[in-house]
């Protein structure tokens, strides 16, 4: 973990309201693994005051990339940065995806901008296993990185709510179809996306006894485990309430899906 000033090497509008930034940060990328995140100070003014967390989208020798959707003030300001501008970032933070080298096919499931960490993961996994990614979004403009995954030789399937690309439906429909027809049992699943999607993903994974890891998002302040602001409910059979609060920033953001208490 290090705090540094990173120059924006590349900026690309990958889709309406979606941007990719490549940051000059070799000191972060050398220790980074897929599923970890960086905590970005967007302005020196007080609006927004706090840093904003972004998953590491790509890990390269020269640094890292992030991929984000504009949802509010912070991401709007970030989208207005230019190539050559500098950002104060802290990273790599948190626990990423655990990858086992002896797996068969790995299945990645992304909702919207949830593809962000899954691209770094795909680049890692494809070195030793077959990778498939199932991407869902409201409409076709929200389906990100399609060509990039295909260029890696990864099988991509798409679902959109309005049917404008791929099947009409959601990413978890694709997952159910795939698992129902697949001959190999217990394929590992990796997911990132909105909470309702992750919940359904977890149920499907349990049904097929697939190990499943998911990346969670909560509001964060410190990003390093000090403030206890970012917690999520984790099943704890020994606790009187059957759960305990764990910090998404250091105990996650990637969790074993079975650990999450969804109530």
């Amino acid at each position: 973990m290090i705090q540094l000033t990173a120059k924006i090497l590349e900026k690309e509008e990958v889709a309406p309201d979606h941007y990719r930034l490549a940051l000059d940060a070799p000191l972060i990328s050398k220790d980074a693994s897929p599923g970890q995140f960086v905590h970005v100070k967007i302005t020196s003014q007080y609006m927004p005051l706090l840093r904003r967390p972004f998953s590491i989208h790509r890990i390269t020798p020269s640094g890292i990339e992030i991929l984000f959707r504009v949802v509010g003030t912070g991401t709007r300001l970030l989208s207005e940065k230019r190539q050559g501008d500098e950002l104060d970032i802290i990273g790599p933070l948190g626990h990423g995806f655990k990858v086992k080298e002896n797996t068969f096919t790995a299945i990645l499931v992304a909702g919207g901008v949830g593809v962000a960490p899954l691209f770094a993961l795909a680049e890692r996994l494809r070195q030793f296993t077959e990778v498939r990614i199932l991407i869902g979004s409201k409409t076709k403009t929200g389906i990100l990185c399609l060509e990039k995954f295909e260029a890696l030789g990864i099988n991509v399937q798409v679902a959109t709510d309005d049917g404008s690309l791929g099947i009409k439906g959601v990413a978890t429909d694709l997952l159910e179809d795939f698992l129902a027809t697949s001959a190999s049992p217990r394929l590992p699943i990796y997911g990132c996306g909105p909470m309702p999607m992750l919940r359904i993903l977890t149920e499907i994974a349990q049904l097929y006894s697939s190990p499943c890891q998911i990346s969670l998002e909560t509001n964060m302040a410190c990003g390093v485990g000090a403030c206890l602001g970012c917690v999520t409910k984790i099943v704890a059979p020994n606790s009187s309430s059957n759960f305990e609060y764990k910090r998404v920033c250091v105990d996650g953001p990637v969790f074993d899906a079975r650990e999450i208490l969804w109530r």
Binding site: V224, A226, C227, L228
Partner: protein, 301 residues
């Protein structure tokens, strides 16, 4: 000549007047990779309660204009696990470590104080009678003169460590509470804890925080904090640790000018983990530039 920026809080000598605030710096270790802890005047630990506390439901934090609301609710592992798991690590921290304690009854405060009083690695106690996010104890003690006196007095009898009492801004007359704490035996006062606040999500028509209300901190609270520190400094003669919205050495100077002996950095750590270090250096540079040798000399005329 190098200016001397060390200060005394009762018997406690700090190498500089910049502390990191309770709940905003964990147990020090969390920030050790990013911050040179030896450059801080001290660290105040996350609040410790007698029994483990799970804390409040999520979401617990939401950003508001120039600030943030939190309703963490004192999530902590409880005294006995603290003694086993965290205390052994504290002796390695190269600056003063102050334990922040909170109870549901005056007796609980006293029990925690007694346990912590002879432990290597802890140089002072801060009693939190100002947490706005718990339903029993906490702020309710700090809103009543008699209860403030009672808690402080009971703790005083259990410890010879320097005793700092942390006051709540959610009161009508902070000077009277401050005096009650000093009468009870406080060696120093620290203020302000967070201001009780709220934020609504107009999309869902619900409060952003699961706990509905939370404590406001960050630059937004600074003018209120400064006014209250000024009021308390006029009313008592013990050292005062000023806090609330400090982001820079310039902000810190404002608190020192109205009479604070030291300052605490809370929310600023989240924005810039090096804030405490940079503020300590900034104060030193300011004194050098203005040829001030004694920090007490920079008080308001």
């Amino acid at each position: 000549m190098e200016p001397d920026i060390s200060v005394s809080i009762g018997k406690l000598r700090l190498k500089n007047p910049v502390l990191c605030a309770s709940g905003c710096f964990g147990y020090g270790q969390e920030y050790a990779e990013l911050v040179d802890l030896s450059m801080l005047g001290g660290i105040i630990l996350k609040g410790i309660t007698l029994k483990e506390r799970q804390g409040n439901p999520m979401p617990r934090i939401i950003e508001t204009p120039a600030g943030m609301l939190n309703s963490v609710g004192l999530q902590n592992m409880g005294l006995s696990r603290f003694l086993r798991e965290k205390l052994p690590l504290l002796s390695n921290i190269p600056t003063a470590v102050i334990a922040n304690i909170c109870g549901e009854t005056p007796e609980e405060y006293a029990a925690i104080a007694k346990e912590l009083s002879d432990k290597a690695g802890i140089s002072a106690l801060e009693i939190n009678i100002s947490c706005p996010n718990v339903s029993h104890g906490g702020m309710s003690f700090g809103q009543d003169m008699m209860l403030t006196f009672e808690v402080v007095n009971l703790v005083r009898k259990q410890t010879s460590l320097p005793l700092i009492v942390k006051l709540s801004p959610n009161v009508t007359d902070i000077a009277s509470i401050a005096k009650a704490a000093v009468d009870g035996g406080a060696d120093a006062l620290s203020l302000i804890n967070t201001l009780l606040g709220m934020a609504m999500d107009i999309k869902t028509k619900k409060p952003y925080l699961a706990n509905i209300t939370g404590g406001l901190s960050g630059p937004a609270v600074k003018p209120v904090a400064l006014r209250m520190v000024w009021e308390v400094c006029k009313a008592v003669s013990v050292p005062v640790i000023g806090q609330g919205g400090i982001m820079s050495w310039e902000d810190s100077l404002e608190f020192l000018l109205v009479g604070a002996t030291a300052v605490c950095i809370g929310t600023a750590n989240f924005v810039n983990p090096k804030a405490g270090m940079e503020i300590a250096q900034g104060i030193k540079d300011y004194m050098k530039q203005h040829k001030i040798i004694d920090l007490r000399k920079i008080r308001m005329m």
